[in-house]
């Protein structure tokens, strides 16, 4: 039976390094199958997050041969087998153990986003053409691959002042909900730091749900920020009325 060498990160917060394991190949095998083989036969304490194994829960994110991927959807036969396949944890978050990272920060950012808030007196009629845009954003499975690949978080570590693509997507879904009555645009500009994004589209490229994160969510939100804060007419009107623009 054909075999392949996997170089999997082993270690914890104090440090670690890739360790090589030889794994037998089977038709249609995915990287997560190889990790499960290692757990079941070679190293039972290998820490890996996973749930559905069908690309629907977004738990098994890792960096495979340097690319942020869902390991349950990465076919072994799509990777070169003549050299070890590297599997490393997401770089944008601190390692807990092996491939498991501490993603709690994402849940803290999420808590700060004002929830859906229906307009008073709404009659709960919505049409397909009105829900289709926000439905795209609601496909997000929270795999955090977009957060991992975003250089603002990955290279510059600006977790304190920037929410990241995942939460721009969530806010876009709320802002474009046909019956929502709140504006979150001020928060976008201030606490969530959308201005730090310079639309390199890395997030869109890695999204396993193929959400057009940059074009449909981030740029649309940036436009709303501009309309609200940088439109000269609005600026003058605000000076006159003393309003802070929400």
């Amino acid at each position: 039976m054909a075999e392949v060498v996997m170089a999997v990160h082993r270690g914890d917060a104090s440090g670690g390094k890739p360790v090589e394991y030889t794994v037998p190949l089977a038709p249609g095998m995915v990287v997560l199958d190889a990790l499960h083989y290692i757990q079941g036969h070679l190293s039972p304490d290998l820490a890996v997050r996973w749930n559905c194994k069908a690309g629907r829960c977004g738990s098994c994110s890792a960096e495979v041969n340097g690319k942020p991927r869902l390991t349950c959807k990465t076919r072994m036969d799509s990777l070169p087998s003549d050299k070890p396949i590297t599997v490393l944890p997401l770089k944008a978050f601190p390692v807990i153990k092996d491939l498991v990272t501490d993603v709690k920060w994402n849940y803290e950012v999420n808590r700060k986003i004002p929830a859906f808030s229906p307009r008073p007196g709404t009659d709960w009629k919505m049409y397909q053409e009105d829900v289709e845009r926000p439905q795209e954003f609601r496909k997000c499975i929270e795999c955090f691959l977009c957060q991992d690949v975003c250089h603002v978080l990955r290279d510059h570590g600006k977790h304190a002042e920037y929410a990241g693509p995942r939460f721009f997507v969530r806010v876009a879904g709320l802002e474009m909900h046909p019956l929502d009555g709140l504006s979150r645009i001020k928060g976008m500009r201030n606490q969530m730091g959308i201005g730090l994004c310079n639309i390199t589209k890395c997030c869109t490229e890695v999204c396993p749900e193929e959400i057009h994160i940059t074009d449909n969510a981030i740029i649309a939100l940036k436009e709303r920020v501009v309309d609200q804060f940088y439109d000269p007419l609005v600026w003058i009107a605000r000076k006159i009325t003393g309003s802070d623009g929400r």
Partner: protein
């Protein structure tokens, strides 16, 4: 209690953060009680995300003739009349309101031309009844509940696993758990506990269930004295992926058939004509699963031992819009374009109809202070669950259990936990590290999965079931001797050592109940007793721990009032 462990105190502790757990927690807060939710994984990853096709509620948006009575009748017929009638009635009555509530919390379902929630056809449902979002309805529901819960300020303990319920005399007093991240132990003190931990499908080899579904809630409730019921009824979803081997068991949504998908054998025959000419592909899951299995066994299966499921006669754009998840799943994992050719599918272990015996109105188990909802609770689905009735079940009974648990907690005094119980729970968890030698829990899990797949599958007989009971007893012996490598830090092997104990308890109950029920009904098919038996139709099997041993009892199926009997007697 000493200061040895981290302690958290809530009025109500909810175990499990899928749809039932989150809906229960929201309701506890609505009632003004405090709540904590403990979950094995990160928030939002529970198996509810895997529910694809939709949530059943007789809103009548597409078929105006639909109403709760028809939904009730379909549910009872699907469950082969073994259901708790009152649960089926409450479910049918309240599901539409629970779905509307999700919409008011921000859920965005697909729409009809009139701007209402869109509904699709599904197996066993007389009318188009499943409210849906493409084929990712479960994700929409869990995200909506998660957002609502976060907004209300639910305390969530993520990646934390409960290993035992703690008691104060006869009543529930909390739970003992451990944090995966550091392996530290934690004690939850609570006046009421809601179990919403789902089923035990990970004990089978070919399964749609993830690592989490190891029967923990059932096992800890049983250990605490609760009754389990109907454990012989395990649903094999007719359509899981069969090829390639790595993806075997992954769910192929029933929505494929709901949207017009056709099943054929390798000879090209539309074989459902033989098994259920009236309902065809939209027959109930037990019937379709047996039909596919029979076709394969009799030599008419596909190359990889399944049936063909074909939706490619529909326009490609329509398929991609209504079944985007399936389109990508097959393209990426099996190199099959479902808009151009058929999928290969076969049965996969999917759902546990059995579970904790509860009161229909409140979800209360037989132990004071213990409640259960969703897949972990028994009764609602009887001998077979209809597709779409799970998402509605967890909303309706999650809310009811949360409400009842909060009321119970508010009306009861403080609980006390004796140190000895906690120390014992700790000893049990640490034991696998203390054994210098011993086998790996993974090996026993693999053998258990093979055993159940072979001996407690779709078709059963007395010899196989007796063999299964014997083997499970042997596995229990071996599980008590496993050794765990490594440290307590995020250690999956250690976790499996504990999960294995739960799986063995839950599946021993499955095998014993299946051996006892000498008839075929719903998901329980006995080759040696192929027909319905009127006497068995009046009885539920009950499992209870007595004198340290697993005992089997029977209870009469509750009798419904005359007007409901009349409803069932009416033709469509």
């Amino acid at each position: 209690m000493t200061e040895k462990f981290e302690v958290h105190e809530h009025d109500v502790l909810v175990i499990g953060a899928g749809g039932a757990g989150l809906r229960a927690a929201i309701e506890v807060l609505n009632q003004g009680a405090s709540v904590g939710v403990v979950c094995k994984s990160l928030l939002g990853k529970a198996h509810t995300v895997m529910a694809e096709g939709g949530v059943a509620a007789s809103m009548g948006n597409v078929d105006p003739a639909d109403n709760w009575k028809t939904h009730f009748r379909d549910t009872m017929r699907g469950g082969k009349f073994l259901n708790n009638w009152r649960m089926a009635q409450l479910h049918a009555l309240e599901a539409p309101e629970r779905v509307r509530e999700l919409e008011q919390w921000g859920a965005l379902f697909d729409r009809t031309d009139a701007g209402e929630i869109m509904q699709r056809a599904f197996g066993g449902h007389t009318f188009k009844r499943l409210c849906h979002v493409g084929d990712r309805t479960g994700l929409e529901i869990i995200r909506t509940l998660q957002d609502r819960g976060v907004q209300l300020g639910i305390d969530v303990y993520m990646e934390c696993t409960v290993t035992r319920l703690l008691k104060d005399g006869d009543r529930i007093a909390g739970a003992f758990a451990y944090w995966r991240e550091q392996g530290r132990f934690v004690v939850f003190k609570a006046k009421a506990v809601v179990i919403a931990t789902g089923g035990t499908g990970k004990a089978w080899k070919i399964t749609s269930n993830s690592w989490e579904y190891t029967g923990d809630g059932l096992a800890i409730a049983y250990e605490a004295g609760a009754e389990l019921m109907d454990m012989e009824f395990v649903q094999f979803h007719p359509t899981g992926m069969v090829w390639p081997p790595g993806v075997q068991g992954i769910l192929v949504t029933e929505a494929v058939r709901g949207e017009g998908g056709i099943l054929r054998n390798k000879l090209g025959e539309r074989f459902m004509e033989k098994y259920d000419p009236k309902m065809m592909e939209l027959s109930t899951r037990d019937v379709v699963a047996r039909s596919i299995y029979t076709e394969v066994r009799e030599g008419r299966g596909t190359e990889h031992g399944g049936a063909y499921l074909d939706i490619s006669h529909k326009p490609a754009e329509y398929v991609k819009r209504k079944l985007p998840g399936m389109y990508h799943q097959f393209k990426e994992l099996a190199d099959v374009d479902i808009t151009k050719g058929p999928m290969e599918v076969g049965p996969t272990c999917h759902y546990t109809m059995g579970g904790i015996r509860v009161d229909a109105e409140t979800g209360a188990a037989t132990v004071p202070g213990l409640f259960a909802a969703g897949e972990a609770a028994a009764g609602m689905h009887g001998a077979n669950r209809l597709g779409g009735n799970s998402l509605s079940d967890l909303l309706v009974f999650g809310k009811r259990a949360g409400e009842a648990a909060a009321t119970y907690a508010k009306n009861s005094g403080a609980v006390k936990i004796e140190q000895a119980q906690v120390d014992d729970a700790e000893r049990e968890m640490l034991a696998p590290f203390d054994r210098p030698n011993g086998e790996s829990p993974y090996e026993i899990h693999r053998e258990l999965q093979d055993t159940l797949q072979k001996l407690v599958g779709i078709f059963r007989n007395e010899g196989d079931l007796k063999e299964a009971v014997k083997k499970i007893a042997e596995f229990k012996q071996r599980a008590g001797r496993v050794h765990v490598d490594g440290s307590r830090l995020f250690n999956p092997g250690w976790h499996l050592a504990r999960d294995l104990i739960s799986m063995l308890t839950a599946t021993e109950a499955v095998a014993r109940c299946a051996l006892a029920r000498k008839e075929s009904r719903g998901a329980h098919s006995r080759i040696d007793f192929p027909n319905y038996d009127a006497e068995w139709g009046k009885k539920n099997n009950i499992i209870i721990k007595e004198g340290g041993e697993m005992k089997l009892r029977e209870r009469p199926v509750p009798q419904m009032p005359e007007e409901l009997k009349q409803l069932l007697a009416d033709e469509k």
